[in-house]
């Protein structure tokens, strides 16, 4: 009986560990975005949301930074008054509209569905490309 309980506990533990190691759908999208933009190189990332920052820190080749000027890309979820020439990637349609002149793209949930979008003109300004896999998400105009 004790052995059975131990096996059950072990299985439960492994399941929990596995789910902790596994990436969520949102993480996978961020990983695809960063992979498409920067390839295998290590990316310094600034984020204005603590929870999202924690989530992003779990991705490979990501280094979080608190200094915007030191970052390769800014992940913006709240800030409306951000002034930086660093590439911005936003977390809502409203922010996408707000930073439409320099934002390279955004990812947000709408009506339960994931929405990913890049702006070609701003990508060009930052000399970035998303590659063939994400090309279908690139908008010529906003």
């Amino acid at each position: 009986m004790k052995k059975l309980l131990l096996i059950l506990l072990l299985l439960l533990n492994v399941t929990v560990m596995a789910s902790a190691k596994g990436l969520s759908a949102e993480q996978k999208i961020y990983a695809s975005v960063l992979g498409a933009l920067y390839g295998e190189s290590r990316v310094k990332l600034w984020c204005d949301d603590e929870k999202k920052a924690e989530m992003l820190s779990l991705l490979n080749n990501i280094a979080l930074t608190k200094d915007k000027s030191d970052a390769d890309i800014l992940f913006v979820f709240h800030s409306l008054d951000l002034e930086s020439d660093k590439p911005k990637f936003v977390g809502s349609y409203a922010l996408l509209k707000h930073y439409k002149n320099d934002v390279i793209g955004g990812f947000y949930w709408q009506k339960g569905r994931p929405n990913l979008l890049f702006l070609r003109s701003n990508l060009k300004k930052q000399h970035l490309e998303v590659g063939a896999a994400l090309e279908k998400f690139v908008e010529d105009s906003f």
């Binding site: 349609y93 949930w109 709408q110 009506k111 339960g112 569905r113 929405n115 990913l116 979008l117 908008e139």
Partner: protein, 629 residues
């Protein structure tokens, strides 16, 4: 135990199937409920979409995108209208158009939350949208990959045969979740019941195994690790007599092992013998330690080989004889005797079969040990003979008695002696003759008791009547250690009158151990007892008998005497026997003298003694000479 396990398995399977059935029924009910509710909601959504379509048609006439782009107020009004159909079930209601690049963008959105702006791109995540656009037919998308949505209903908005847009209604996941939430406790209850029943069954199984183990331990002989008599009792209750044959083994001279080598050696031998037997029998066979050094083996019958039991018994006997037992550097050699009951079904009870095997074992012992003895017919239950217990009871209640038939001196016509003939009186007062009971008690303790009682009775009569009496015994009685010992004890006790006794030996048994017979008869003769050979001239009649039996008297076979007046051959044989007897200085008795003619011939042949119904019948009282012929 096997039956209980079967019941447990049946019970477990029944419960398992019931739970599975209930679980499946619950799942089907849930699915059916979902489907019905889905059909209901879809029907409602279709009506709503149709109303929206009509509403759009009343304001849009050619190009939905251009007309709505140009009229923000109209968009606002129409979105207010869409908002009115939003409920807990219909979470989002919106209208999308497809741009030239194939992307879907908002025209109108009546959603209260997560509202899309005019022209905003929307990831629809399903090819069904394109299908609806193309086919102009409504469709349903099941949103299995989305956490918050259940179903999306799509209705094309068509103007002049062109699909201008798609009206979409997203159903909240709330309803199926509620249905699931409502049935979940029932599902949980079923699981709990199942787990509880499973636990109960496990506990019961554990208890049963414990009981079985305890019971099994009480059935095992701690020394030899084979079944004991407790088990035998249980086993005998359940045994089918047709299924088994029986061997009873006894280790020869086991007492000597204990006496010479000590009890530890005895215990060691018992363990080793049990192991040896165990190794020679099959899984279906049952080995029981029946007594001190006695083992019973129930051999599962084989249809094709009725003699399997004999082969097994012989193999065990042979292997044990070849075995060299070593105990504390001492080499011990042993033999086994075995008695077999071949057909248990011939016996009224299994206990009778065991008695039979015991009797066969007794014969094996008496015939010199280290042998397997069986009777092909397992005879004595087929003959209409007395039960051994009746005979035992008759002996114990003094219903065993002798009749005495006078033996006359032919010349003097006077009674010379008497032949004691054993009889039993049954409960009805009837007389039972030896033929009816001797075979039953042969080789049993009852036979020994009977012999002792008869010897006592004969000596008592000799003492009272001062007459010569002859008593019948078998050659096997002389060879039997127990009976011989008894005879010697009785002769010693009555040594002063022992010379009045004649022992008549029936010669119908073959004699393989002549030297022992001769030696023992000579010992008997030392008490003055005379030895007579009964039924001489019949069966195994062999003149060689004079070489090993110290014969004083021969009694000519009744069949020869019976025909002496009619058969020349019988006459010649009797005459030659009489001549031989004279030569050997042996007295002759003619039995079965049934007429005056026979008596005259006997007299003519100069035979000394005669007995028979013509002369006198056997009777309980001693007949005296005043009743001479």
């Amino acid at each position: 135990m096997k039956f209980i396990i079967k019941v447990y398995i049946a019970l477990f399977i029944t419960i398992l199937l019931s739970i599975v059935y209930l679980y499946k029924s619950l799942y089907q009910t849930e699915t059916s409920l979902n489907k019905n509710m889905e059909a209901l909601f879809v029907a409602q959504a279709r009506e709503i979409a149709s109303n929206i379509s009509q509403h759009l048609h009343s304001h849009i006439h050619h190009d939905a995108y251009l007309e709505l782009k140009a009229q923000p107020k109209l968009r606002e009004n129409m979105e207010h209208s869409l908002m009115t159909v939003i409920t807990d079930c219909y979470k989002y209601v919106y209208v999308l158009y497809r741009d030239k690049a194939g992307n879907y963008r908002f025209l109108l959105d009546g959603s209260k939350t997560d509202k899309g702006e005019f022209g905003e791109k929307f990831s629809v995540m399903s090819p069904k949208w394109d299908e609806v656009y193309k086919s102009q037919k409504s469709a349903i998308i099941y949103q299995d990959k989305l956490d918050t949505l259940w179903v999306t209903y799509l209705e094309p908005f068509i103007i002049d045969g062109r699909t201008e847009a798609i009206i979409a209604i997203d159903f909240s996941v709330g309803f199926p979740k509620n249905v699931k939430a409502a049935t979940e406790p029932m599902r949980d209850i079923l699981i709990y019941i199942f787990v509880l029943i499973g636990l109960l069954l496990l506990i019961l199984l554990y208890q049963t195994i414990l009981n079985y183990k305890t019971k099994k331990e009480s059935f095992i002989d701690p020394l030899t690790q084979v079944y004991n008599r407790h088990y035998l009792r249980e086993f005998l209750d359940s045994i089918n007599n047709d299924s088994y044959q029986l061997i009873m083994f006894d280790i020869d001279y086991f007492k000597k092992v204990n006496d010479h080598y000590g009890h530890d050696a005895g215990d060691y031998i018992l363990k080793e013998v049990a192991n040896l037997i165990k190794n020679e029998i099959r899984l279906d066979d049952v080995l029981v330690r029946f007594g001190g050094e006695e083992f019973l083996v129930f051999i599962k019958k084989e249809k094709k080989n009725a003699d399997v039991v004999i082969h097994i018994a012989e193999r065990i006997r042979y292997n044990l004889e070849k075995e060299e037992f070593s105990f504390n550097d001492m080499k011990i050699f042993l033999t086994l005797s075995a008695g077999i009951a071949l057909h248990l079904e011939h016996f009224t009870s299994i206990h009778e079969a065991i008695k039979h095997a015991d009797n066969m074992l007794y014969i094996a012992k008496r015939e010199g040990r280290n042998r397997v003895v069986y009777s092909k017919s397992d005879t004595y239950k087929h003959l209409n003979i007395r039960e051994i217990n009746d005979i035992k009871e008759a002996i114990e209640t003094d219903n065993l008695f002798c009749e005495f038939q006078p033996i006359y001196n032919v010349r003097s016509k006077k009674i010379a002696k008497y032949e004691a003939l054993v009889r039993l009186r049954d409960n009805d007062g009837g007389v039972v003759y030896p033929k009816e009971f001797l075979e039953t008690i042969a080789h049993t303790a009852v036979y020994r008791d009977m012999t002792k009682a008869i010897l006592n009775s004969v000596f008592e009569t000799i003492k009272q009547e001062s007459v010569y009496i002859s008593l019948n015994l078998n050659f096997s009685d002389i060879l039997d250690d127990n009976i011989f010992e008894l005879i010697i004890d009785e002769l010693t006790s009555h040594s002063s009158i022992a010379e009045w006794l004649t022992i008549e030996l029936l010669e119908y048994e073959p004699l393989d151990e002549n030297r022992i017979v001769k030696k023992r008869l000579e010992e008997i003769k030392r008490y003055g007892v005379k030895i007579a050979i009964d039924d001489f001239g019949s069966g195994y009649a062999n003149y060689d008998i004079f070489n090993f039996v110290p014969v004083d008297i021969i009694k000519i076979d009744a069949l020869l005497i019976k025909k002496i007046d009619k058969s020349e051959l019988s006459y010649s044989i009797v005459k030659s026997i009489a001549t031989l007897a004279k030569e050997l200085n042996v007295e002759v008795v003619a039995e079965f003298v049934a007429s005056k003619e026979i008596l005259d011939i006997i007299e003519e042949l100069d035979i000394t003694y005669a007995q028979g119904f013509y002369l006198a019948k056997p009777q309980e009282e001693i007949l005296h000479d005043d009743n001479t012929v």
